[in-house]
């Protein structure tokens, strides 16, 4: 059942499983393998939940979305093909999309707004604990984002972590919509160059 090993330039393996492992598990899940599904959940649920919680803020809604995401993975695993993408990317993409969907649809957006500020204040307490958990990837994210021009970084962060739409970001930053679109494209391109994601 093992897929040929792919040497990934990103070092996920130490923390919660390599991308090749996620892909291999997904292929087994597509065959209806519930134990592979459980393994995939154990490997990535904290990563996925952290992402959803970041975007959605509301914890009980995040728990619902986490379940939706993993159910969707179970139901649609057959669409994942290892030659067309990385399993980890596939899963994180679904998770981010569903979190944003919920933000868009949700009445809880008001909660979210008032609670985002509160999170900031927790930094001091949490940072020590989180520091121990920071992966090499988190450092790479910080490095790469720090290297971006301010306006590009702002657009990417508001969109990806904040779940804001382009038009909302235009409003927040007082920039024309077209400018926001261009910043996102240029920002992603720069990140890609920085990380060497391009094959």
């Amino acid at each position: 059942m093992l897929e040929p090993m792919v040497i990934d330039d990103r070092e996920h393996a130490e923390q919660d499983g390599g991308d090749d492992l996620a892909s291999a598990l997904l292929l087994r899940v597509a065959q209806g393998d519930q134990s592979a599904f459980a393994e995939l959940y154990d490997m990535l649920s904290s990563r996925v939940f952290g992402l959803i919680l970041r975007v959605l803020v509301n914890r009980s809604q995040s728990e619902e979305v986490l379940q939706e995401v993993f159910l969707e993975i179970w139901q649609t695993a057959s669409r994942f093909t290892s030659d067309r993408g990385r399993g980890r990317t596939w899963i994180l993409t679904i998770a981010h999309r569903r979190a944003v969907d919920r933000v868009r649809a949700s009445q809880a957006s008001a909660d979210r707004d008032v609670r985002i500020g509160a999170r900031d204040l927790d930094v001091a307490h949490d940072s020590v604990a989180e520091q121990a958990e920071l992966s090499i990837d988190a450092d790479r994210v910080v490095d790469a984002l720090s290297a971006l021009p301010d306006a590009q970084r702002e657009a990417l962060v508001l969109a990806y972590y904040g779940g804001y739409s382009q038009s909302e970001i235009a409003t927040i930053t007082g920039s024309p919509l077209g400018t926001v679109k261009t910043r996102m494209r240029d920002g992603l391109t720069r990140l890609r160059t920085h990380w060497g994601v391009n094959a």
Partner: protein, 277 residues
Amino acid sequence: MNEREFAELAAGHSLGSLSVQDEQRYRAALAAHPEWAPIVADDADTAALLAEGVPPVAPPPALRDVLLARVAVTPQEPADAVPVDAPSAGTAPADAASADGDAASALPDEGDQDPAPQPSAAAPPRRPRRLLFALAACLVLVVGLGAGAAVVIPQLLRPAAVVALDRIENAPDAAQKTVSLPSGGHATAHWSASIGTAVLVSDGLEPLGTARTYELWFVRGDTPVSAGVFAAEPGTTTAQLRGSMHAGDAIAVTVEPAGGSPTGKPTTQPIVVIPTS
């Protein structure tokens, strides 16, 4: 559409930030130009790396049991299924909640070419409050990235409230005024009538619980105009007033039932009144 224009759509798509209309343009363009799929895959990979910047959070253990039990009775799409339905068009009841969100559907695989059901009648609702309290950027990121980032990012990222404050500070008529709160803290209004923006920064506001909320007002002449609600946070609370500030408005805060005053007018005496003229 040329490739450059598509690259902008693909970037916005990978970040989940396209409007419904742009999402449809994106899908149509990708269907017409399958040769652009690598752009989509690259952007998806890059966006997914942003996810690695968020610290993992363990979900409640009970969720695992619930999920495995549901999986045991949930059918899967067959491997050769023609992906005519969007990923969330599955039968899971929980999916209904996000079913209208498929405009944001995107994967670096065939999911992208799905002719997904059009977002149902409900276009994504507007979220004025989200904008009102858009304390985004570094607030969001700093928490996620921990200590190292906390040092680096604040100088680099400007949260929306700070953007608003900066814009006020840079306005020729920038002004501020501080008053004491009944609870012992302070509230400082920052405003510029020329750009029509006001932000209230307070410390020591009492938490109100879930049944009540603070509501902001522009008092225009004798008429209070609601400028949104906010909750007290431990320490400093920053709230941008919704709507446009007019010269001479007073800025006020009242305590109202959760969700804001049902009448649209203050129902209690204000705890803060800051004249701006």
